[in-house]
């Protein structure tokens, strides 16, 4: 029988198939945890006297609440609130009590949960990967089945290394043709979400295929899979190919055995199909307060859209008229080395426009080190941008990195919801190229003339 990639990974990790009475029991190959969505799960575990079943398949990191400014002269990190600090300490205590490896502050491998998994070679094809974080879909770029879970389910996985799951439906999204150089994984994602809508993927696992995917780097694939959740899909997947195995060999530091069977068989049946003309995609930005409100950066605000009042945009207005107060490059969507290189490519020999604040936040300690070695951080600082310590930072604005009411932020993160980057802050999602071009011009700018 022919099978999709999703079905193969599902079956490989299936403890017991679903019945009318009970959803399937799915074994979890890797459970990533961070400080925000775990404390209440450990409380339940401790109340019930349960142990963590597989600390060896669990990995903790600290990313959401942590400051991206270095410690002060007193050696204290500038936490936004005592609660933020308490949350970090709670994770540290819980990991120590249960023998879970933690990439703690000061560890040279620490970073945003969806950056470090792949970077350390822990994310592998064929795995099931979960985390109390919706952007866990990122890891699907390696042909893993990866999805976000709530805190109750975090408790389930800690205690049993398994989850109760109904089998989702499958959708193939094929990118036909190849886009120009200035178009990145982020632009493919925004174009896809515009086409299928913020709930177009609800109930589905997406598999991305086509020429534009085959030629995409691992970083670009992670960006695309990361944004699957913004189309309502819990998971997005890409079949492993040479690009994947080469990345993994480098990350793991040893050759990883190739598995040729981890791809959708010819003739396998999906529940739904979408074709997207990749050759027609240009650098994209959002103009509203949901990620499907996306349009070409060089375009005009379309008619009949929601969220324009909040954004202060008018129908028919050229986006290039919108002046920008802040630019943020970072997050699990675009905080990897390739993203740093892209932003630096545009900023090299240029300056951030007068009055614009630009924050560049590497996704991990490893990205930070590499960017410094490659001279990228020097380019950012020379251009007038701030180069920070790794963390989620302005993607979720929990750690004190946030905008002021009315700010217009061009951001490489994943959500343009009202208030996501601070109360009253307006977010325009874009690729690192577009973000950097906008920083240089002080207004929303397409990077087509820069790359």
């Amino acid at each position: 029988m022919t099978k999709t990639l999703f079905e193969k990974v599902w079956e490989r990790n299936l403890v017991a198939p679903e019945t009318e009475d009970r959803p399937a029991v799915l074994h979890i190959s890797l459970h990533l945890i961070h400080e925000v969505t775990t404390p209440q799960a450990f409380t339940v575990l401790n109340e019930r006297g349960l142990n963590v079943r597989r600390p060896d398949l669990t990995l903790g990191t600290i990313d959401h609440s942590v400051p991206t400014l270095p410690a002060g002269i007193d050696g204290e990190l500038p936490y936004a609130t005592p609660a933020a600090k308490n949350q970090v300490e709670t994770l540290r205590r819980n990991c120590a009590e249960h023998g879970i490896p933690l990439l703690d502050l000061g560890d040279g491998r620490r970073g945003i949960v969806h950056v470090v998994g792949p970077e350390l070679g822990r994310t592998r094809p064929g795995m099931t990967i979960v985390c109390g974080d919706s952007h866990t879909s990122t890891h699907g770029a390696f042909g893993a089945l990866a999805f976000g879970i709530g805190t109750t389910e975090v408790g389930h996985v800690l205690a049993t290394q398994s989850l109760l799951q109904r089998k989702p439906k499958t959708m193939r999204i094929r990118f036909v043709g190849t886009p120009p150089q200035s178009v990145t994984g982020k632009d493919l994602a925004l174009a896809m979400i515009r086409q299928i809508g913020t709930q177009g993927g609800t109930g589905y696992v997406l598999e991305y295929t086509g020429e534009a995917i085959e030629t995409l780097s691992m970083e670009g694939r992670m960006t695309l899979c990361n944004m699957s959740i913004e189309a309502g899909a819990r998971a997005g997947m890409i079949a492993p190919d040479d690009t994947t195995w080469q990345y993994l060999d480098r990350a793991a530091g040893v050759p990883i055995p190739r598995e040729v069977d981890l791809r959708t068989d010819d003739g396998a049946v999906f529940d739904a199909h979408i074709d997207i003309d990749a050759s027609a995609i240009r650098p994209m930005v959002t103009f509203g307060t949901a990620p499907d409100a996306a349009v070409e950066a060089s375009g005009i605000v379309p008619s009949g859209s929601d969220g324009l009042d909040y954004m202060g945009f008018k129908e028919g207005q050229a986006l290039a008229e919108a002046s920008v107060t802040t630019v943020f490059v970072g997050s699990c969507t675009n905080g990897r080395i390739e993203d740093m290189r892209a932003a630096a490519q545009v900023l090299n020999g240029r300056r951030v426009a007068e009055g614009v604040r630009m924050l560049v936040v590497p996704g991990s300690e490893q990205v930070k080190r590499q960017a410094e070695q490659e001279g990228l951080s020097a380019i950012f600082e020379k251009a007038g941008a701030e180069w920070r310590e790794p963390g989620c930072s302005m993607c979720i604005a929990m750690n004190g990195d946030r905008g002021k009411p009315g700010d217009l932020v061009v951001s490489t993160s994943n959500r343009n919801f009202k208030g996501r980057q601070g109360e009253g802050v307006r977010t325009v999602l874009a690729s690192p190229y577009t973000a950097a071009a906008s920083a240089v011009e002080g207004r929303i700018a397409s990077p087509e003339d820069y790359v």
Binding site: V15, A16, D21, R22, P23, V25, H27, V36, T37, P39, Q40, T43, V44, R48, R53, R54, S65, A80, T81, A83, A84, N86, Q87, T90, G132, D133, S134, T136, G148, I149, G150, T151, T152, G155, H156, A159, T160, Q161, S162, L163, L164, R166, T198, Q199, T202, G232, R234, T289, A290, D306, I396, M398, P405, R415, F417, K418, G419, R420, E423, G424
Partner: protein, 191 residues
């Protein structure tokens, strides 16, 4: 162990017409530094209900008697965005027990059911009728899987396992714990 059960509820509605009410609206991220599930009522829809100065706004969520209105009727795609279970915790803290919309996001739906909050999806026509009359009395029965108001009764779908857990207040952790022998066998075969 048990969690909060849900069988049938008769209550009035709060209508939130907005579409794509995301988890950052339901509970802004700056309230996520908590390490417990308690005291989240003020955080719920905080930026809709409070000005930056802390003053209450005139939003219906502030002006109606929430004890008598435990059903939210919302625009399409409620609960999209993050996996934070703080969203259903905060809604429950505010007294909400049912959310009705034409689409409810996957992870929110799954989190809600585990906490005694019932997500109900209905067709557009039913949603329009409910929206047209904010504050009307509605009966939601998980036993019969129906929403009843006026002389209208429509049925809704729920995943049968989650339904059973919610009806009885059974914790799905117990079901997984009882599967441990199978899990053990799977792990042994793997290694």
């Amino acid at each position: 162990m048990s969690s909060e059960a849900f069988t049938t509820l008769t209550s009035r509605t709060i209508v939130l017409r907005e579409e794509n009410i995301d988890t950052d609206q339901i509970i802004p991220a700056r309230f996520l530094t908590t390490t417990s599930k308690d005291s989240l009522a003020d955080a719920c829809f905080h930026d809709w209900r409070f000005e930056a100065s802390g003053k209450m706004t005139g939003h219906p969520l502030n002006t109606v008697d929430l004890k008598a209105r435990q059903i939210i009727v919302s625009g399409n795609n409620f609960g999209c965005g993050s996996s934070r279970e703080h969203a259903p915790w905060a809604l429950m803290a505010l007294g909400v027990r049912v959310v009705i919309s034409t689409e409810i996001a996957d992870i929110f739906r799954s989190n809600a059911m585990k906490n005694g909050l019932l997500p109900v999806t209905v067709d557009e026509d039913t949603l329009e009728a409910l929206m047209a009359d904010p504050g009307r009395e509605v009966t939601v029965s998980l036993e019969t899987q129906t929403v009843t108001f006026g002389n209208r009764s429509v049925s809704f779908e729920v995943e049968p396992f989650a339904r059973r857990c919610l009806l009885s207040g059974q914790d799905s952790m117990d079901v997984l714990l009882s599967a441990l022998p199978e899990i053990q066998k799977f792990e042994e075969a793997q290694s």
